[in-house]
Chain length 710, copies 2
Amino acid sequence: MTVTAAGTPKPSSPENGSPDDETLDTTVDNSDVPHAGNPEGAPSVPTQESADVRQLVDNLRRTLDGRWHDLREYAREKMDDPELLPDPSLTLEQTRERTFDHLKRLADLDFAAAGFRPEHGGTGDVGAAITGIEMLGYADLSLMVKAGVQWGLFGGAIENLGTQRHHDRYVKDLINLDLLGSFAMTEIGHGSNVQALETVATYDPQTEEFVVHSTTPDASKEYIGGAGQTATIAAVFAQLVTGGPDEEPTGRGVHCFVVPIRDESGADLPGITTHDDGYKGGLKGVDNGGITFDEVRIPRENLLNKYADVDADGTYTSPIENENRRFFTMLGTLIRGRTSVAATAGAAGRKALAIATRYGLSRKQFEAPDADHEIAIMDYLAHQRRLLPLIATSYALAFAQNEVTNELHEVQGGPEQNPDTASDGDDSRAGRQRELEALVAGLKAMTTWHASHTINTCREACGGAGYLAANQLSIMRGDIDVFTTFEGDNTVLTQLLAKELLSAYAQDVRGLSTVGWARFIADMARDVFLEKSAARQVVQTLMDSSDEDTEKSELSNRGTQIRLLRNREDHLVRTCAQRLRRATEPDADAFEVFNSAQDHLLKVGQAHVERVVLESFVEAIDNCDSRAASELLGKVCDLFVYSLLEQDLDWFLMHRHVSVERAKAIRRGVNDLCADLRPHARTLVDAFGVPEGLLTVQMTPENRPDPTTV
Amino acid sequence: MTVTAAGTPKPSSPENGSPDDETLDTTVDNSDVPHAGNPEGAPSVPTQESADVRQLVDNLRRTLDGRWHDLREYAREKMDDPELLPDPSLTLEQTRERTFDHLKRLADLDFAAAGFRPEHGGTGDVGAAITGIEMLGYADLSLMVKAGVQWGLFGGAIENLGTQRHHDRYVKDLINLDLLGSFAMTEIGHGSNVQALETVATYDPQTEEFVVHSTTPDASKEYIGGAGQTATIAAVFAQLVTGGPDEEPTGRGVHCFVVPIRDESGADLPGITTHDDGYKGGLKGVDNGGITFDEVRIPRENLLNKYADVDADGTYTSPIENENRRFFTMLGTLIRGRTSVAATAGAAGRKALAIATRYGLSRKQFEAPDADHEIAIMDYLAHQRRLLPLIATSYALAFAQNEVTNELHEVQGGPEQNPDTASDGDDSRAGRQRELEALVAGLKAMTTWHASHTINTCREACGGAGYLAANQLSIMRGDIDVFTTFEGDNTVLTQLLAKELLSAYAQDVRGLSTVGWARFIADMARDVFLEKSAARQVVQTLMDSSDEDTEKSELSNRGTQIRLLRNREDHLVRTCAQRLRRATEPDADAFEVFNSAQDHLLKVGQAHVERVVLESFVEAIDNCDSRAASELLGKVCDLFVYSLLEQDLDWFLMHRHVSVERAKAIRRGVNDLCADLRPHARTLVDAFGVPEGLLTVQMTPENRPDPTTV
């Protein structure tokens, strides 16, 4: 039996009903089953098989696809091939080789060049580059990570931190895979705290070289994609030490250097020691590894010098005076990697839901009372409650992701920034970039946690079938796991966002120590935050249609929903700022004050992202010009909101943002919305547009991999 | 650097403090760090390195170990060997062989014989058999599953469903692995709904044989451990069809048959088609597979005939008249497997916590304000909140598990039951067995979900290091996943428990259809449940010391805590019964009534298990004769309760079982208890007694597996 919707039609048996009961059509779900619920609020949304359903799926897909719809359609066509799926029967070596072969297929598709400006050798379409990477989440997460490391991280460092000499030398080669790079930031001792990296690059004016050195065992670069085996070059983050003609050598903070690490035969270059991380919890196609530097000399030109340079005599110059601001400006240009990770996690979650929903519609267990057929597990409330809120959240996150991708495209895709002005002043692009960084941090955390949880839930919802590697979910479960860690640990990222919110986007706060930051907060006017977060048009209109007292407006009113999330965020920000102000009292232990409020701080970040995600959803519905699609999306948005509220119901009750009666209505509302959306379950996951060739999951014995051939 | 507590001592570096700050002792944690908190309530609990700490760890361990402490110590000694750990670099074939070699080591230890009565060829110590399996959770979950299938499931079927002819023929051989068995219950089409299995065994009086047949493709046995490659024989569950001299062949319900499936060369026997499930999400050492039967003939003697028999002429006899009761009696004897799965999941969760806690104590990130050293991540509130409540829950579950193992030992280990009387009447052992079944169902769900969540959290809490296979967590994460599915899907099990609670342990309810069951509930007096759950002595004493109005008693009062969980359970049971009664109204759609209350029903089961687990914890503290240990356990129990309450705070608020003020106190309480327990983190996980050889997780390059040798 296949897990694809239709399944192998089950033969009828005496205990079962007619064959019709057992066979599901591949394009619509069995919405005519007795207990599937009937969405009163959406009478015009078709659930029967018909051209209408296909039209609805198509309209939903366009809305979900957003600005890069055409690219997505092109990618779907090119990726509709089971050969792209991970093959668990291959060895580590074979898997890595196969992943690299697939990477070459992508390079041949001119897929990679979009991430680089035309004047640097690319085609200059940042949004397309991210969307292309995202689509790989439907195929193979190892392939996505390989592509992300090569073109997004290594390529992104060259593109965004380098200058013409680097673009001329590296961009073409790295796009077409003649040059394989890695992105060597994390060390054994420091991952989250990048400013404390222990690799040092000391400038030697005698030879006009930097000497790159791992100063302690903890300074070894670690978990670096590509460093295990394939990369011949690395973008290495290290503490720059340089003086000048009349200056002692001084630490200048973390900068990025291009360091060759392997020769063409794959041997470590002199002074370089790499190792292979071997087996991991997933991502078998990615050769993660470590790099240790023993006084490795590289020419002065290998400093990626867009934001700081070292003259021949060792003089250090930078258009950005403040060291902290310089550091965060450099780091900020790299958010493309983090954005891609969030986008891909979203895609992986959607694919898992497509698989589990198809399974849930075809799998039956236990007879209905007074009936002679078993019930599709998707018709059980508990199963609906497992999957449908995750589908709703996936929609919400996809819309938010589209906005973020779009904004990044605008910010990074415009005319090249001049670091002299762009980062020092408060020009609008620098401001937008910074707001975007904070949002991407929070969205990456929310999406990757959602994806990990979703894939785990989908595996469980498919029972034993879900555990077979042939059915993909268990492989995806292993692959997605580390998405919550790399490109920023989710807890650290959420905290980063929260600090940014509390400091109301002011300058020079990010690099402050905890105590310095707490003092800064203390000086803030408490209403700065609210002023900063003026609502977008559609949101304002909706809010205006609801009562300021949320209990006086219907919960189904979108304005009320937005107010509830806005009020929560506002409440959390204000009270958190109040708590943190205590750090400035004379006898306060600043760490203690900060630490005892850490759970509060994390909640600030979470509440903000959830609110922004809802508003993206609202905007997407507003922009959808199909009536049936927008009606259905309205229901999906309701379920997203109701389940968000349900998850945090204790907070809303404790802080009297909802009454006990409303709380009970929220719980009932989730159940009712599940019943309403159940007939559309198949439509909703079909709209994700996961290529069919990547959903071909088999359960028949003849299609299982034969382990004896391994 | 190693993740074991001491780690490779980090060299000091200019940015870091003295070497002392960097090195952790292996036996105590760095409780003298500034922000570790000081448990006011437990002044006599030692946190400094001393004989006292070692004594405390020892006393905690004895309390945790329970009745089979000596066996556990023996197992620790025998298992203290990294060679037992999974090796991800081996192929599927190699892994299976290695796992089988380890299984033989266990058989040689006379480990397996404990599960069988002396008169059958064993040594007759049911509790020891389960505890031995549980301890394998510290080493390799594949090994546990292989052992569990062979001795627990296949062996358990022979032992508990068979009679002397089966014991004589199979027990010795299966103990010493001369006979490799599998347990063929699940089919492609039916896992949870065992009564609807489609494999049929038709008795042929002409030849005195059963004809075993897979009647549909869905009838294929699937996911069967050992069926993929190694088992030569299977305990097969099938619908028995037999008549008699004057009787038409009739379906008699599901029975268990011994069916040879492979010859000595490993080839399928005539009529048998096996297949190999190949790669899965984990458990690489277990050869799961499928079996299809094409009119396979087996002798009449191969019916495991303890609870039903077929005479030579086809006459069917059973000491248990009611078919449902017979079915559930047979199934009930097999709870040993489910019990072992719960026990092992508990062990796996504890091991993950030992690894993550050691890592959290040695890993530092970000500087403290006004200080020149970085802070151990275990000192951050967010990290404490991640790990310490899981440690507390692991303690609670371990105590509940010990009680269950003990009770099973008593129920199954006594003089052999006579099915004629034991199951039909309401004799105390049958009653105890049935209560135990319900509790095991709920505990298995709670423990395996806890373990899966815990291992996932621990992986994340160890960042990139956690993702390396060499550090075990990611392998454990893949292995544990299916524990929530096999031996009963957790959702189905929780529901089973809830139904049992609602029907107040009455007879003949389990086999009823949903509607029949709802009608039964309707006839119940609503206070039956409360009468049945009379409190044990220590619980009653504690409750007596607290006010009946929970808001009037301190939340830290154990009696108050118990009352809160008892009141919740009682409230849920009563209101759920009321809702389900609607199913009996004339125009009611019984499925609709049931389905719309399914989330309520699941909550009944969950609330019951949590209450029972708390009471086991209370009993264990009461039985602990070390003052320091019981004081510390009291704090751990507090954290268990507070975090339980926090997780379900919305329910307690909505149903006015706690006030808003108390809800806030609960949140603060979790934070305070985390601070109190932080200095004891290392002590608490050391007390688990995971053999050091199984915690040897390496992060140094030289200890990584070399993937090039694969």
